[in-house]
């Protein structure tokens, strides 16, 4: 049913529809409203699950890991410093191949301390071995959360659903929350083949010697690569039921014959899409919205980029001392392609800096130069830099 909902509220209702048996989370801005709303649903008797109060994000992640090992469907959510504090456990969850779903309400990392949105937190755990799906709007976040359980349980991999903090979590907009029967039909009860069972004891998390460690990593890596098929199938099946796609591995909008492309992750695409309708004096532009960052959809990206002369990669995080994280991967993915587009790499909107419609014009101006310049943070205001940095 279409309702006026805040993003966080919609996620809490959606998690309830997925019937997790154990939820543990520690509140942190901008994720807090999700956990508060889940706590309220449980207290009101509208959600039947074990909600465990914990003293930190490390404990939240450890608790859902244990519960999932015992065969429970679980949920947690965090952001920013909370993701960093969880990171040891996040690697364990993925390495042990434990299916679960968490929401990352994307937020900048300290220092300097910022409560606002960018995507440095989920990028910081890029290599933890989780599937990472980025959402363009709150409807996609709802649909992706449901799909994430199906993907996690089919692949025995954890899924991190990334939604921009504030920009999505604190935005109220019309959102369709599916009926329980539809979610039940899509998502059968969780039946974990390796669940701990006293009648049939196994050990999870034992020491692995050099005799087997590389093989464990090989299997994990290939499980992630293979998960691409399940991500596509989960979205296609959901579309059949609900009438909505959440974007598969990536989604493309704009004219097919455009020579310029802009690739982004998360909620920026909506602003760019409106801008491309407004600034009709600028060349036609294809917008590529990367939904699956892990696994990285190399083939789909190559297909989406064929015919482009210029590709702008616009991301909300960076690897200091190198530059764009996503851009580096895009470079690698497109290398060897016939007529590789020139790749322009920018970060934007770090620490919650507003991303105005005019960014679209700025990007087009930047790519006029013959050769792509080095990575830059496109919305830096030079007069706000410390005096000694004015020259750089």
């Amino acid at each position: 049913m279409r309702k006026a909902l805040e993003g966080s509220q919609a996620i809490a209702l959606t998690v309830a529809l997925c019937r997790p048996q154990v939820v543990a989370a520690y509140p942190i801005t901008p994720q807090t409203h999700i956990v508060e709303n889940i706590a309220k649903l449980v207290a009101d008797g509208k959600m039947d699950c074990e909600l465990v109060s914990v003293e930190s994000e490390f404990s939240a992640a450890s608790l859902v890991l244990g519960a999932a090992c015992a065969g429970s469907r679980t949920y947690t959510a965090s952001a920013s410093q909370g993701i960093l504090l969880m990171s040891e456990v996040l690697y364990n969850i993925a390495g042990l191949r434990i299916p679960m779903v968490m929401t990352c309400a994307n937020r900048a990392l300290s220092a300097p301390l910022s409560i606002w949105n960018d995507q440095q937190d989920s990028m910081a755990v890029r290599d933890a071995g989780w599937i990472q799906l980025y959402c363009a709007n709150n409807q996609e976040a709802v649909d992706t959360t449901i799909q994430a359980y199906r993907i996690a349980e089919a692949t025995e991999l954890p899924v991190m659903v990334c939604m921009d903090g504030f920009t999505l979590t604190h935005t109220l907009e019309p959102i369709d929350i599916p009926e329980q029967a539809m979610v039940d039909a899509y998502l059968p009860p969780f039946n974990f083949a390796r669940a701990l069972d006293p009648a049939n004891p196994i050990s999870i998390g034992t020491l692995v010697s050099p005799d087997h460690y590389p093989e464990a990593r090989h299997s994990h890596h290939h499980a992630l690569l293979d998960a691409a098929d399940e991500i596509i199938a989960a979205d296609a099946d959901w579309q059949q039921l609900s009438g909505r796609s959440a974007g598969g591995l990536l989604s493309v909008s704009g004219p097919d014959d455009a020579r310029i492309g802009i690739l982004t992750l998360g909620s920026i695409v909506g602003t760019l899409s409106d801008a491309s309708d407004l600034y009709t004096d600028l060349p036609a532009t294809k917008l590529i919205n990367l939904r699956a960052f892990r696994p990285f959809p190399v083939d789909a990206l190559r297909f989406a980029c064929s015919g482009l002369t210029d590709l702008i990669v616009l991301e909300r995080a960076l690897s200091p001392g190198f530059g764009g994280i996503v851009a580096a991967e895009v470079h690698a993915a497109l290398a060897g392609m016939q007529d590789v587009p020139r790749i322009h790499s920018f970060a934007v909107g770090l620490g919650g800096r507003d991303i105005p419609l005019e960014i679209y014009r700025t990007l087009h101006r930047k790519i006029d130069a013959a050769e792509p310049g080095p990575f830059s943070i496109i919305d830096v205001e030079r007069d706000r830099l410390p005096v000694e940095d004015h020259g750089i």
Partner: protein
């Protein structure tokens, strides 16, 4: 598209005001979006929230920079430089004030409507929370949505005595507005 920027202070229900207005529009079948631009969240600090209403889905996520209307919940905020920045030439400012509009410069006088919202809230709620009174006056001034849509969005968020007192408050606020000088239609 109609864009509104709501200024207030932490504790005045600024974000709730934005959510209530967008909810009312969505319940009437329109597309709408409401979101805050938080500073450090604390009671008394200046805060801003934004509302967009349109007849088609709203994709953009940027802050509202050239609003059609400003709703200002605390008169003292008028002293902050740039508070009216970006307001459209034919835009309107609804200000919570018990003064008369002569207190303001000619430049903004023509755009300004004053509502003693804190006073009205004190009378009806017993608390100085001006947000719902201002929303009600805003709907009268613009004729944008029926009062009933605001009541419906209040019913989704509040119940019992708080709801009833707020309904009485918004009725009283609506009665103070006798004209709709800012008449708007969502398809415009």
């Amino acid at each position: 598209m109609i864009e509104v920027r709501i200024h207030g202070r932490g504790g005045q229900g600024n974000v709730v005001a934005a959510y209530l207005l967008a909810t009312a529009a969505i319940n009437e079948g329109w597309h709408a979006q409401a979101f805050p631009a938080f500073g450090a969240e604390r009671r008394g600090a200046p805060v801003v929230a934004f509302v967009r209403i349109d007849h088609t889905p709203i994709s953009r996520r940027c802050q509202v920079v050239s609003p059609d209307f400003l709703i200002i919940q605390d008169e003292a905020l008028m002293n902050i430089p740039g508070i009216t920045e970006g307001l459209k030439a034919d835009g309107g400012i609804l200000l919570n004030s018990s003064k008369d509009s002569d207190s303001y410069s000619n430049e903004i006088d023509g755009k300004l409507v004053l509502l003693p919202a804190t006073q009205l809230a004190q009378q009806h709620l017993g608390r100085p929370v001006p947000n719902t009174a201002l929303l009600s006056a805003f709907l009268e001034l613009t004729d944008l949505l029926p009062q009933q849509s605001l009541i419906k969005s209040l019913e989704e968020r509040f119940k019992g005595a708080v709801l009833e007192k707020n309904i009485a408050l918004i009725k009283a606020a609506a009665e103070t507005i006798t004209d709709n000088p800012w008449k708007m239609t969502i398809n415009a």
